[in-house]
């Protein structure tokens, strides 16, 4: 380093060294900030996925030894008794709950966005079921649906109607869907409210002046402008729906007659219920990861291509 009075001058080598050091410091501090998250990502996501891949090639259980069986666990999956029913239940559940949740959330959000007074109270009430843990929500619904003293049957009796067995083979999955909608509609409604409030008001004023009806404004203004958030909601809520488990185990234990046995419930049965079927469970899990990934990519492709066409 050479100096002159009142001025400091760096040689090119020192300049380069200091630049390198500054870059290194930036890199290190960046990784230091990222580190905890990255460590959690590796520890709780990458390692379990790799572990699942390893287990999927083994025969054995959590206790006792295991042996390598190659791809046997995958090739046997299609012949598992009950597998088609578990897949069907999961698809029906997702197919019913995702549209209901998103349509309900959008409807509630449109109403909430119009409120000028008391909006906070209504938003809290709508969001409240989200705060209830899945197991507690399931217990609440057990009381609501009890055959003898449940609220739903009491209402039916009050109208002179016969009581319903809510957890019968043909109704149990519907109850699970209803519970899922009840729990999640408020969550997505909050997303949609925030998005709707942020929409440019002048567009709506212009549309009104042009004589557009409320439905036309919703169809040609609100929906297109909410497309990004709707796209996000569709993808995430579909992934969640495919993972339904906690309410199924508390409400119905997968029954009756397997009517609410979902894919994840089946995975759980094999991991912990059997002494040597962790390989099956891991193989199912990997297939499910791939299926969800493929479905997500498909959704992204469809929704993005439509956005591009706008």
């Amino acid at each position: 380093m050479s100096t002159e009075p009142g001025r400091m001058r760096l040689s090119p080598e020192e300049h380069a060294r200091l630049r390198r050091r500054a870059r290194l410091r930036r890199e290190v501090s960046g990784w230091a900030f990222l580190g905890p998250m990255f460590a959690c990502f590796v520890l709780f996501l990458v390692v379990p996925v790799l572990g699942t891949a390893w287990w999927s090639t083994r025969f054995g259980g959590l206790i006792g030894g295991t042996r390598f069986v190659g791809l046997d666990n995958f090739t046997r999956l299609p012949s598992l008794v009950g597998a088609p029913q578990a897949i069907w239940n999961t698809v029906v559940f997702a197919g019913a709950s995702v549209p209901l949740i998103l349509a309900g959330a959008l409807g509630i959000a449109l109403l909430l966005a119009r409120l000028e007074r008391g909006g906070a109270i209504y938003r809290f009430l709508v969001y409240f079921p989200v705060l209830v843990p899945g197991v507690v929500a399931a217990l609440i619904w057990l009381f609501l649906t009890n055959s003898d003293f449940g609220l739903f049957n009491e209402i039916l009796r009050a109208f002179g109607l016969p009581p319903v067995t809510w957890f019968a083979t043909d109704t149990a999955l519907g109850v699970l869907v209803a519970l899922d909608v009840w729990r999640n509609v408020g969550y997505w409604a909050m997303f949609f409210v925030a998005a709707i409030i942020g929409l440019p008001g002048e567009l709506y004023q212009a549309a009104k002046l042009d004589g557009a009806s409320a439905f036309a404004r919703f169809l040609y203004l609100t929906l297109p402008m909410l497309r990004r958030i709707i796209f996000f909601a569709v993808v995430v809520s579909t992934i969640w729906a495919f993972q339904v488990f906690d309410t199924a185990i508390v409400l119905t234990r997968g029954g009756p007659a397997g009517a609410t046995t979902t894919v994840v419930y089946r995975v759980w049965q094999y991991v912990f219920g059997s002494s040597n079927k962790v390989g099956y469970a891991s193989a199912i899990s990997l297939v499910m990861i791939v299926a969800i990934l493929a479905l997500t990519l498909l959704q992204m492709r469809l929704l993005r291509s439509r956005r591009g066409a706008d």
Partner: protein
């Protein structure tokens, strides 16, 4: 250590007494082994009064099933006596859920999270086949334990699963009994013989039916073992006795299952899903259901005495070919427990005649000790249990002796229920059950 020394000394002593070893050789070998000093201590330990054996210390973590709402309190009561003798031993009790017991036990055992486990017979073959729990064979067969061993029931049955003894039995439990409201049976014009034939049983159900008010029978409330004993009563089983092939899809089993399914079809049984284990006993106690199929621990769920005459009978009801599925429950010691000697002492304490009687009396089950009756069993339990015991023992049948039985039983329940709900025919359901058996056992 004391136990090993004691065994060595006993071996030498027996050889000396039998004349195979002279006194001089006996003493020489004893000294040669360096046992002379410790021998006295070892032998003395055997005669030391229990209250003085306070060298035990450590924390004992129990993982047990909830047989009654007071389960933990019952264990705390048993622990009080042990703690009085061994103040340095502390206890922790955690309950598992019956629907997830295998899952919780497996993960806990793998992680070494608990020391002593309450394990039912359905899981026993799996644990006999691996090393998750301590092999107690040498301890149970130790001559010093012989007198106590003779007081335990069911060791012979346990040995049917393999040569190793992995636990100390605590109960004989009937998994699927029929709780019968005898007032309703009599009101329908039948007496205590109503269940001796299928036709009589069915006629009684038909006459007890009051649509919208009373269901004659609730099935599937606690489905564990419910259809399995129908299978066994009809001469079938998951595997043939030599465990070489599936043994489900037989004409007699199809007939028996058809009969069971007809109760649902003809609306004599509550639709599947109407009641679960928590509200089924309440429905029976409240007179909503005349006959309830459930395990005997349900006697701890309802508030006794019930406001009507009731009794327990085996299920399936007809006298011919009647079978009663039951299982034994054990205490086992985690192989990862840091102090197996302490756990063995604790397990023995928990299964003495006195403590087994106390626990079983409060749990709606039968003790597994011959001396339980003299220690107060029957003072709290519903008298119907004692009355029904002879028939349950007479028609007793346990699970089949192959690993994975429990997972086969669990998977088959859903398939059988599908024919009860009319989703598939009985033949299709049983074909699926047979496929599950083959898929899970490889036969």
């Amino acid at each position: 250590m004391n136990r090993r020394l004691n065994r060595d000394i006993c071996t030498l002593a027996e050889a000396h007494i039998a004349g195979r070893l002279s006194r001089r050789s006996f003493v020489t070998r004893l000294l040669g082994l360096g046992l002379s000093a410790t021998a006295v201590a070892s032998i003395a330990a055997e005669f030391r009064p229990a209250h003085a054996a306070s060298n035990l210390k450590g924390n004992v973590r129990f993982l047990v099933g909830p047989w009654s709402p007071q389960e933990v309190d019952i264990h705390k009561k048993i622990a009080e006596g042990f703690s009085a003798l061994h103040p340095d031993v502390t206890f922790e009790f955690r309950l598992y859920d019956w629907d997830t017991d295998d899952q919780e036990i497996n993960t806990s055992a793998a992680a070494g999270a608990h020391d002593i486990y309450m394990i039912t017979e359905s899981a026993y073959p799996d644990y006999e086949a691996n090393d998750a729990f301590v092999d107690l064979t040498s301890r149970i067969n130790d001559p010093a334990f012989a007198e106590e061993k003779a007081k335990y029931l069911y060791f012979d049955r346990t040995l049917g699963f393999g040569p190793r003894l992995m636990g100390l039995p605590i109960s004989f439990h009937v998994e699927c009994a029929l709780f019968v409201n005898m007032d309703m049976v009599k009101a329908a014009g039948f007496d205590e013989t109503f269940a001796d034939t299928w036709d009589s049983f069915r006629n009684c159900l038909t006459k007890m039916s009051k649509p919208g008010e009373v269901y004659p029978i609730a099935l599937g409330v606690q489905p564990y073992g419910e259809w399995y004993q129908v299978l066994r009563a009809a001469g079938g089983s998951f595997l043939t006795p030599d465990l070489s092939a599936a043994n489900v899809n037989r004409p007699e089993v199809i007939d028996a299952t058809e009969r069971m399914a007809s109760l649902f079809k003809d609306k004599l049984a509550t639709p599947l899903g109407t009641y679960n284990y928590d509200d089924g006993p309440a429905a029976f106690a409240g007179g909503k259901v005349a006959i309830l199929s459930i395990d005997l621990a349900a006697t701890t769920v309802v508030k006794l005495p019930l406001p009507f005459n009731w009794k327990l009978i085996p299920n399936p009801p007809q006298a011919a070919g009647r079978m009663n599925f039951n299982d034994i429950t054990y205490y086992m010691i985690n192989a990862k427990s840091p102090n197996p000697d302490l756990m063995w002492e604790v397990a023995k304490w928990w299964t003495t005649g006195e403590h087994d009687a106390y626990w079983a009396d409060n749990s709606g089950t039968y003790p597994a000790r011959v001396d339980a009756l003299t220690h107060g069993y029957g003072t709290k339990a519903a008298p119907q249990l004692a009355e029904a015991l002879p028939s349950y023992q007479k028609f007793s049948v346990g699970l089949e002796k192959f690993p994975g039985w429990a997972s086969v039983e669990e998977l088959t329940r859903a398939e059988v229920q599908k024919c009860f709900s009319g989703d598939v025919s009985v033949k299709e359901a049983l074909a699926n059950v047979e496929s599950i058996v083959k898929q899970e056992t490889g036969h």
